[in-house]
């Protein structure tokens, strides 16, 4: 088996071969490719269910013909024959598809790609035993919190490798990346009653990933969530803790994507410069922040990534565009193109919320009669043009009275409109990075919303 370094060299060699082949066929092209070693673990009820290792590779080739015809295909077969076949096939298809008059063609403007430290140099040496030891430590730490802790569950993923972008416009960027994401979900039991709590978090550096401390916090929250009482749906003041806040910000970011603008389904359509949110909300896309797991020097279309405000003092400042969407909508793309299966959309994949000056505890202390929401589950748009979303509370739902947490509540469903409940908010000062399944990063602080509508309840 080839080492990661050898695979990196292979990617460079194959991209050169592919681009040369496409050139010979009379077209232009760019390559998005990656190789990585991935260690993954699934654990549940304080047992490791499955440890596995994978050598991930992908080679995606986009061919542009006559500047207006485009086709993309990919393979994970990194043999020279496979790449030559790919180049031939994609070029043939690019010549067949009808031209799109709005497609901006190959990117020719010179880009200044930042040099970012995005990897853990020691990640190459990590062994399965190291990962099992770390997870075992988290399980032991969680179980030690209280006898009511029944089991620690979760998952772990370490990705260590290289990403490449190269093009027939003489661009070649290859950079190492390490990302570690993990989830802890702890169950507490007392008699017939069960509660759970959860945390998603990550790091670029294996040794900095403190699963033990996090496990203790999650376990404490699970134990505190026992004894949940049923409360009635209605309009409540809430503190949305980091994970819940992250869901709301992800839904808000989706509405700034050029895909939503093109399809006319965003509640933020035609609202640039407007005070859509509370003036305490500022969100910046910061793709050069090394702490953000989604940071990167270059987007999927070859543009250098750049920092820009998404929301500033509650005013919508920028959408995120792919190059095609920008051309169609008369905008300038800012290096946030995100591609999948030949489609490119814009997305602020590295958003960071500007923290406020109150601690999370201070936010809670200012609530007379409300709820602390740890996590939101299965949140989806109900009516995208209104920004209406629905979802469930999960993993720790607490009652606040006179500024103090006085107990736990049974989970409820919320259905509300983002521009309504985000109009009167306060922001906490502690930034965290709850990791998401979508590979989209974000640093968020807790949010206190004056009014948040819960519409139905559950028995747990």
């Amino acid at each position: 088996m080839m080492s990661l370094e050898q695979q990196k060299e292979l990617l460079l060699e194959l991209s050169e071969i592919a681009l040369k082949k496409v050139k010979n066929l009379g077209a232009e092209a760019f390559v998005n490719a990656s190789v990585s070693k991935q260690f993954a673990t699934r654990f549940s009820n304080s047992e490791v269910l499955q440890n596995y290792v994978d050598f991930q590779r992908n080679f995606s080739l986009t061919v542009v013909y006559n500047d207006k015809q485009k086709s993309t295909s990919s393979t994970n077969d990194l043999s020279e024959e496979s790449i030559l076949n790919l180049a031939e096939y994609v070029t043939k298809i690019a010549k067949l598809v009808p031209p799109d008059p709005m497609y901006p063609g190959m990117l020719t403007e010179k880009q200044q790609y930042p040099k970012l430290q995005l990897n853990d140099p020691n990640a190459h040496n990590i062994q399965p035993d190291d990962i099992v030891d770390k997870i075992s430590g988290a399980i032991i730490a969680g179980e030690a919190v209280d006898q009511k802790v029944e089991g620690v569950s979760g998952n772990f993923l370490l990705v260590d490798g290289y990403s490449l972008f190269s093009s027939s416009s003489d661009v070649e960027v290859i950079y190492p990346e390490t990302a570690i994401v993990t989830t802890l979900n702890t169950q507490a039991i007392q008699g017939d009653e069960e509660s759970r709590s959860n945390s998603d978090f990550g790091s670029r550096t294996f040794t900095k990933l403190d699963m033990e401390t996090e496990s203790q916090e999650v376990a404490e929250r699970a134990v505190n969530a026992l004894g949940a009482t049923s409360i009635e749906p209605g309009d409540y003041e809430v503190v949305l803790d980091h994970q819940a806040a992250s869901t709301i910000m992800l839904m808000t970011s989706m509405a700034t994507s050029s895909m939503q603008l093109i399809s006319r389904r965003s509640f933020l359509n035609d609202r640039i410069g407007q005070q859509v949110f509370d003036d305490k909300l500022t969100v910046i896309n910061e793709p050069h922040n090394p702490e953000l797991l989604s940071s990167r020097p270059i987007d999927d279309e070859g543009l250098a990534t750049q920092s820009f405000p998404v929301i500033e003092d509650g005013v919508l400042k920028n959408y995120s565009f792919s190059r095609l969407h920008a051309a169609k909508l008369g905008a300038i793309p800012k290096g946030c193109g995100f591609s999948f299966f030949g489609r490119s959309i814009g997305f602020p994949f590295a958003s960071v919320m500007k923290p406020g000056n109150k601690t999370r505890d201070k936010l809670i202390s200012e609530v007379d009669n409300g709820l602390l929401v740890t996590n939101l589950h299965y949140t989806n748009f109900v009516n995208p043009p209104l920004g209406s979303i629905t979802g469930m509370s999960k993993d720790g739902f607490f009652i606040i009275k006179n500024g103090e947490i006085v107990g736990s509540a049974k989970n409820m469903r919320f259905t509300d409109e983002i521009p309504r409940f985000m109009k009167d908010i306060d922001i906490g000062q502690e930034l965290r990075q709850p990791t998401s399944m979508m590979g989209i990063g974000g640093m968020v602080a807790p949010i206190r919303a004056k009014s948040f509508k819960f519409t139905s309840k559950t028995e747990h």
Binding site: N51, Y52, V53, S73, N76, D129, I139, L157, S263, H460
Partner: protein, 480 residues
């Protein structure tokens, strides 16, 4: 692949594995799509490789590679064993699997036309015509999209018990979408999949589908009203019924969820083990929910699951009583079942199998109204809901809230006013307890590779669901 599989199993066993299985797995995926009259995507995506899963010292280990060459087997097997050894240091309960028959077979899902043999030009031509039909509905249509996709999925499977299976699946999907903006901003779309070849494109009928999808988008944006909040009879067509089955019956009867193995991401289940075999009342006595991947042509069809277990038809709910879980070899053994129900599936070569839905549906009523018209004629008042718009359900799968794309009022046995932004919300047993009438007519619809499950690597699985046009009484309806 037999040599590679045999070598891998031999290597694993010599390295101390008490069980080993090898999956050479891959897919070829072609997509052609347009948006607002221009090609949005057009290409082929190939992904293939193999994975070795072993049990050593009572623990699982798994390793995989995209390089399907015999000279990689030694290292991949060694890595799988190393993973198992690491796990076994903290393993409390050794892995035990159900005993299953040894199978040697080759199977290919039936199809008439290989979609990969059809030219791109022909495919684009169909999409252009579809786009033209949508565009003809006028300026109120603000965004249009359509597409077709084709998947060839193959698996060579072998295990140390002697099972060797080659299975190849071919499935096709098509979709049309229109967004209309007038009094309101509304969308309407249709997207279906079947385990068929290019002949499904004819069955989907882009011309007819594009016509009604765009007409209904216009109706939604111009004349549809929001429903008033009410509790009433609610009729679902097979696709939206299928989505409701998927979320409120499919996921909670996955045995790995029940055991807590998905708690960190997808959640758990209200159908806990104490309800199994206890005559738990899941729904009304008309509810017969059946898992049957042996049914040909539906998207969830397969002859074998990805642990080499023969697919089988089994009851999940019979006459309203909860009867059975979807399981794999490990989860079935844990709860004392003799055999796996054959629900282990993977989405890629480098993923471990999880308990997944295949083809789960509601049985029709052979004595019910003949078809939708007859069912509506039997309904004094209510609402008929069509198509998926939004869905959400809690982590134990009890409290759900779904929205349909378009609905119609029913008054005195006839369809009336079109309705937009129609939402139904219920608790699972309460909703299924309200099933009181179903048609004889039924259909199974493929949801595409869109069922997400599993962390840290989410696996998108292709599933099918459906059943008859079904009426549920006293459903909570509102708008939003």
């Amino acid at each position: 692949m037999d040599d590679l599989i045999a070598k891998a199993i031999d290597k694993a066993e010599k390295g101390g594995a008490s069980f080993a299985e090898v999956r050479v797995f891959g897919y070829k995926y072609e997509t052609v799509s347009t948006r607002d009259g221009q090609i949005e995507s057009c290409g082929i995506y190939n992904d293939r490789g193999y994975g070795i899963r072993v049990i050593k010292n009572g623990a699982w280990g798994f390793a995989s590679t995209a390089v399907i060459e015999e000279n990689t087997v030694d290292e991949i097997a060694k890595l799988a064993l190393k993973e198992a050894e690491a796990t076994s240091k903290v393993q409390k309960n050794p892995i035990v699997l159900t005993e299953e028959p040894i199978i040697k077979d080759k199977y290919k899902t039936p199809y008439k036309i290989d979609p990969f043999d059809i030219s791109i030009e022909d495919k684009i031509e169909i999409l252009k015509l579809s786009d033209q039909i949508i565009m003809e509905k006028g300026d109120v249509i603000k965004s249009r999209s359509n597409g077709m996709s084709f998947y060839n999925v193959y698996m060579d499977y072998g295990n140390s018990e002697g099972t060797r299976i080659t299975q190849e699946e071919l499935f096709t999907g098509a979709n049309v979408s229109a967004i209309a903006i007038a009094n309101d901003n509304q969308s309407r779309n249709e997207g279906l999949f079947e385990m068929r070849g290019y002949e499904f494109i004819d069955k989907f009928d882009f011309e007819k589908t594009s016509d009604y999808v765009s007409k209904e988008a216009v109706i939604l944006a111009t004349e549809a009203q929001a429903p008033k909040s009410q509790r009433t009879n609610f009729i679902l067509e097979p696709f939206q019924l299928g989505l409701t089955i998927h979320e409120s019956c499919g996921h909670p009867t996955e045995l790995d969820r029940v055991l807590g193995w998905e708690a960190d991401f997808a959640g758990t289940s209200f159908l806990t083990l104490d309800k199994f075999g206890s005559n738990y009342q899941y729904g009304s006595d008309k509810v017969n929910l059946v898992c049957d991947p042996t049914m040909p042509y539906v998207l969830g069809h397969e002859k074998y699951d990805h642990e080499g277990v023969a697919a089988k038809k089994f009851d999940v709910v019979r006459e309203g009583i909860f009867k059975g879980y979807q399981s794999d070899r490990q989860t079935a053994k844990i709860v004392g079942l003799e055999n796996s129900n054959g629900n282990a599936r993977i989405a890629r070569y480098n993923r471990v199998p999880l308990v997944r839905m295949s083809n789960l549906y509601l049985e029709h009523d052979p004595e019910g109204p003949k078809d939708l018209d007859a069912l509506i004629a039997e309904t004094d008042e209510g609402i008929y809901g069509i198509g998926w718009k939004s869905h959400s359900i809690d982590d134990k799968r009890t409290n759900f809230q779904f929205a349909v794309q378009i609905a119609y009022e029913i008054k005195n046995g006839e369809l009336g006013q079109p309705l937009k932004n129609t939402i139904y919300q219920a608790a699972t047993p309460e909703f299924w307890g309200g099933l009181d009438m179903m048609t004889q007519e039924w259909a199974i619809e493929g949801l595409g590779p869109s069922c997400g499950k599993g962390a840290p690597h989410m696996q998108a699985m292709w599933v099918s669901h459906g059943g008859p046009y079904s009426r549920f009484k006293d459903v909570n309806i509102f708008t939003g």
